[in-house]
C-alpha cells in the first residue's frame, strides 16, 4: 500500500513535468505537438541505453556507461535535438496550425512504426529492459521509492520556477502574441519561426527529462509504453486543469493520469478483461469534449492579466515581470481621458480576459 502511494507520487511528478511541457507548447505558444510522447520516449530510451552500457542480448544505439546524472542530461539533450530536427521540418509559418497538428500526429504514428520494426535502433518492439535504478543499493526498497519521489519532485520544483519564469517573461508574452495573432506578432519584430522552434525544443527537453525520470524508475522501456494515445493524457490534463496555468496543470495531472488511469487498477475487474480500460478512456474523452465545449478555461482558469491605465495621462502601463519598474513599457493605445467618454470607476483598469497577448502585470 505504502509502495503504491509512493509510486503514485512519483508518477504524478513525472506526468506534471509532461503537462507543463505541453502547457508551454500548446497553451502558451499554440504549437500543436501531437507527437509529444515521441520526445518523452527519446529521453527515456537515451537515458536507458546510456546508463545500461554496451548491449548484452539487446541491440541498441548509444550504449555507454555514464555515471548517474549524465544519462538524464543525455536524454534531455537528445530529446531537444530530435525536437529541433522535427520542428525545423514541420513547424513552418507557411503551414496552417491545423496542418501542423496533422503532421505532428503523423510524425507520432510513424516514429512508433519505425522504432517498433527496426530492431537496430532500440531493440524493436521488445524494447530495452534491465535499466538500473540509480543508487538503489543504498536504500531499502520501501525507502527508495520515497527517496526517488523526493528527487522527482525536487526536479519538478526547479522546473516549475523555470517554466513559470519563462511564461511571465517577455519571451512568454511573445509566445502568447504569436499564438493569438502571428501576423501582428511578426510585424512588431518577433521572429515567430524562431520563437516556435525555441519553445518546441525547450518543451522537448522537459519531455525528455520526464521520460528519463520515468525509465530510471520502471527500469524498462518499449514501444507499448508510448502508443500515441499516451500523448492525449497530457493534453487532457491541460484541458481539464486549465490551459495557460501551470498550477492548473498540476490539478489536471492529479485528476486525469492519476485518478482516472492509475487509481482504477484498485477497482475489481468488471466484465471481460479490457472493459475497464475502455470505460476509462470513454470517460476521459467525454470529460475532454465537455471541457472544450462548456469550460474552455479549465478548473483553475489562467490568472487574468491586467493592463493598468494611468488615470492622469491616459497612457497604459505595461509592467514587466512582477511589476519590475525597470521593465516597464509605455504604449499609447488609448487617447488621454480628456478625450474619452468613459470616466467611471476610480481604478480604471482595462482587463484583458483569458490571458490575451500583450498583457502585463498579473494581479494574482
Amino acid at each position: 500500500m505504502q509502495i503504491y502511494i509512493a509510486t503514485l507520487v512519483i508518477y504524478c511528478g513525472i506526468d506534471v513535468l509532461g503537462a507543463w511541457s505541453v502547457n508551454l507548447q500548446f497553451a502558451y505558444a499554440g504549437v500543436p505537438n501531437f507527437a509529444f510522447i515521441v520526445f518523452v520516449a527519446v529521453g527515456a530510451y537515451v537515458n536507458g541505453t546510456t546508463s545500461l552500457g554496451p548491449g548484452q542480448g539487446q541491440t541498441y544505439i548509444l550504449g555507454y556507461h555514464l555515471p548517474f546524472p549524465l544519462p538524464l542530461i543525455a536524454g534531455m539533450v537528445a530529446a531537444g535535438f530530435v525536437s529541433l530536427v522535427i520542428g525545423v521540418f514541420t513547424l513552418r509559418s507557411s503551414l496552417r496550425r491545423d496542418y501542423q497538428a496533422a503532421i505532428m500526429f503523423i510524425v507520432g504514428v510513424i516514429a512508433l512504426a519505425v522504432v517498433s520494426t527496426d530492431t537496430r535502433i532500440w531493440n524493436g518492439s521488445n524494447g530495452i529492459a534491465g535499466i538500473p535504478q540509480p543508487f538503489s543499493n543504498s536504500f531499502a526498497p520501501n525507502t527508495y521509492n520515497w527517496v526517488y519521489g523526493a528527487w522527482v519532485w525536487a526536479i519538478c520544483l526547479v522546473c516549475y520556477f523555470v517554466v513559470e519564469h519563462l511564461c511571465r517573461s517577455g519571451w512568454g508574452r511573445g509566445l502568447r502574441a504569436m499564438r493569438d495573432n502571428e501576423a501582428a506578432a511578426g510585424s512588431i519584430g518577433l521572429n515567430t519561426s524562431f520563437l516556435r522552434i525555441q519553445v518546441f525544443v525547450i518543451g522537448g527537453m522537459i519531455a525528455g527529462l520526464s521520460g528519463g525520470l520515468l525509465v530510471d524508475f520502471i527500469g524498462a522501456w518499449s514501444p507499448s509504453a508510448w502508443g500515441y494515445a499516451e500523448t492525449f493524457v497530457f493534453f487532457a490534463a491541460i484541458i481539464v486543469g486549465g490551459p495557460e496555468n501551470n498550477r492548473g496543470a498540476i490539478v489536471g495531472t492529479i485528476l486525469i493520469p492519476i485518478i482516472f488511469t492509475e487509481l482504477p487498477s484498485f477497482l475489481p475487474e468488471i466484465g471481460y478483461v479490457g472493459l475497464k480500460e475502455s470505460l476509462e478512456w470513454i470517460i476521459i474523452g467525454l470529460i475532454w469534449v465537455g471541457f472544450i465545449g462548456f469550460r474552455p478555461q479549465g478548473i483553475l482558469p489562467a490568472r487574468r492579466l491586467k493592463v493598468d491605465r494611468d488615470s492622469t495621462t491616459g497612457w497604459r502601463k505595461l509592467a514587466g515581470v512582477g511589476g519590475n519598474p525597470f521593465r516597464e513599457r509605455r504604449l499609447l493605445v488609448t487617447p488621454p481621458p480628456s478625450l474619452t467618454v468613459e470616466t467611471s470607476a476610480p481604478e480604471t483598469s482595462a482587463v484583458a480576459t483569458g490571458g490575451r497577448a500583450g498583457g502585463a502585470r498579473d494581479d494574482g
Partner: protein, 297 residues
C-alpha cells in the same frame, strides 16, 4: 527494374486504398475547414458494421461494402451535423476544433472497443480468386476490385464536381463561403451533401482497408488515418484529384522502399514525400497568416 515495376504495381493497389479515404477527407476538410480526426473512427465503424453484415453467412460481399458506406454516412452526419455546429457556434478556435475531434474520436473508438471486447476479427470478404499478370505486375482479384472501386469513386466525384450544378456550388463554397452564400447558393444543403459524401467514402475506405489486411479491430481506422491525412494534405485540401495523385505518390514511395528491403522505413518513405513537397512548396507566408479561417457547418 523488374522489382521496381512490381513495386509500382503494389503501390497502385495501396494508393487506391489510400485514395478512397483521402478523397473523402479532403472534400470535407476543404469545404468546412474542420480537420476532422474522427474520420479514423468513422472508418473503423464502417469496417466493423461491414464485417458484421458479412459474417452473416450467404450474404453478397457487396452488401457488406454498401453497409460500410451507409454506416459511415450515418456516423458522419451525427458528428458533423449534430455535434460540430454546437461547438462552432460557441466560437471555437482552429486548434480547439482539432482537439475536439480528437476527444470525440477517443470516445467513439473506445466505445467500439468496449462493445467488441477489444478483439481482432478475421474476415474474408471476396474469395481470393485467380491472380492476374500484367507484365511483371501480379495482382489478385480482390486488389483489382479495390482499384476499380477507387477509380469509379474518383470518376464519379470528379464528374459531380465539374459537370453538375451541385459540384459547381460545392467548389464555389470551398473557395469563398461568404460570397457563395450571397450568390444564393443553398449553403446548408451543400454542407449536408459534403458530409454525406465524406462519410460514405470513409465507410468504404474503412472496409476496403480491412478487406486488404484481413483483420478488423477497434484500432483499424486509426492505424490507417496517417497515410490518409498525409495524402489529403499533400494533395491540397478540397481537391479530390490532388488527393488521388498524392495517394499514388505516397503508395508508390511506400511500396518501392519496402521492395528494396527497408520495410521498417516504408511508412517513412511515404511520409518523406509529404515533407519534401511541404519544404519545396513556395509558401506565401503572410497571406497564409493573415487569412481568416472560418468553419462552415
Amino acid at each position: 527494374m523488374h522489382t521496381l515495376i512490381q513495386a509500382i504495381g503494389f503501390g497502385i493497389v495501396t494508393a487506391s486504398l489510400i485514395a478512397i479515404g483521402a478523397m473523402g477527407f479532403t472534400l470535407q476538410f476543404g469545404l468546412t475547414n474542420i480537420l476532422n480526426l474522427t474520420y479514423g473512427v468513422v472508418m473503423t465503424l464502417g469496417a466493423m458494421l461491414g464485417y458484421l453484415v458479412d459474417s452473416v453467412s450467404g450474404v453478397n460481399p457487396w452488401i457488406g461494402v454498401i453497409t460500410g458506406g451507409v454506416a459511415g454516412i450515418a456516423a458522419t452526419l451525427v458528428i458533423g451535423k449534430g455535434i460540430f455546429p454546437f461547438f462552432v457556434r460557441r466560437g471555437i478556435g482552429l486548434l480547439q476544433v482539432v482537439m475536439l475531434t480528437l476527444g470525440l474520436s477517443l470516445v467513439i473508438q473506445y466505445t467500439i472497443a468496449a462493445i467488441d471486447h477489444g478483439n481482432f476479427y478475421q474476415l474474408s470478404f471476396f474469395p481470393t480468386g485467380p491472380t492476374y499478370h500484367f507484365g511483371p505486375i501480379v495482382i489478385t482479384g480482390t486488389e483489382l476490385i479495390f482499384i476499380g472501386i477507387a477509380a469509379f469513386l474518383y470518376l464519379s466525384i470528379a464528374g459531380l464536381l465539374h459537370l453538375t450544378r451541385l459540384g459547381k456550388a460545392l467548389r464555389a463554397m470551398s473557395v469563398e463561403p461568404g460570397l457563395a452564400r450571397s450568390c444564393g447558393i443553398p449553403t446548408r444543403r451543400i454542407v449536408n451533401v459534403t458530409w454525406i459524401l465524406s462519410g460514405m467514402l470513409a465507410g468504404i475506405a474503412g472496409i476496403a482497408y480491412v478487406i486488404n489486411t484481413n483483420t478488423v479491430d477497434s484500432y483499424s481506422g486509426n492505424d490507417f488515418i496517417a497515410p490518409v491525412l498525409a495524402a489529403a494534405i499533400l494533395g491540397q485540401s478540397g481537391s479530390p484529384g490532388g488527393a488521388v495523385v498524392a495517394s499514388l505518390l505516397v503508395g508508390c514511395a511506400t511500396e518501392i522502399v519496402s521492395a528494396y528491403g527497408g520495410s521498417a522505413y516504408s511508412t517513412v518513405a511515404g511520409f518523406g514525400v509529404l515533407l519534401i513537397v511541404l519544404l519545396a512548396r513556395p509558401g506565401n507566408v503572410m497571406s497564409e497568416l493573415t487569412k481568416k479561417i472560418e468553419f462552415t457547418v
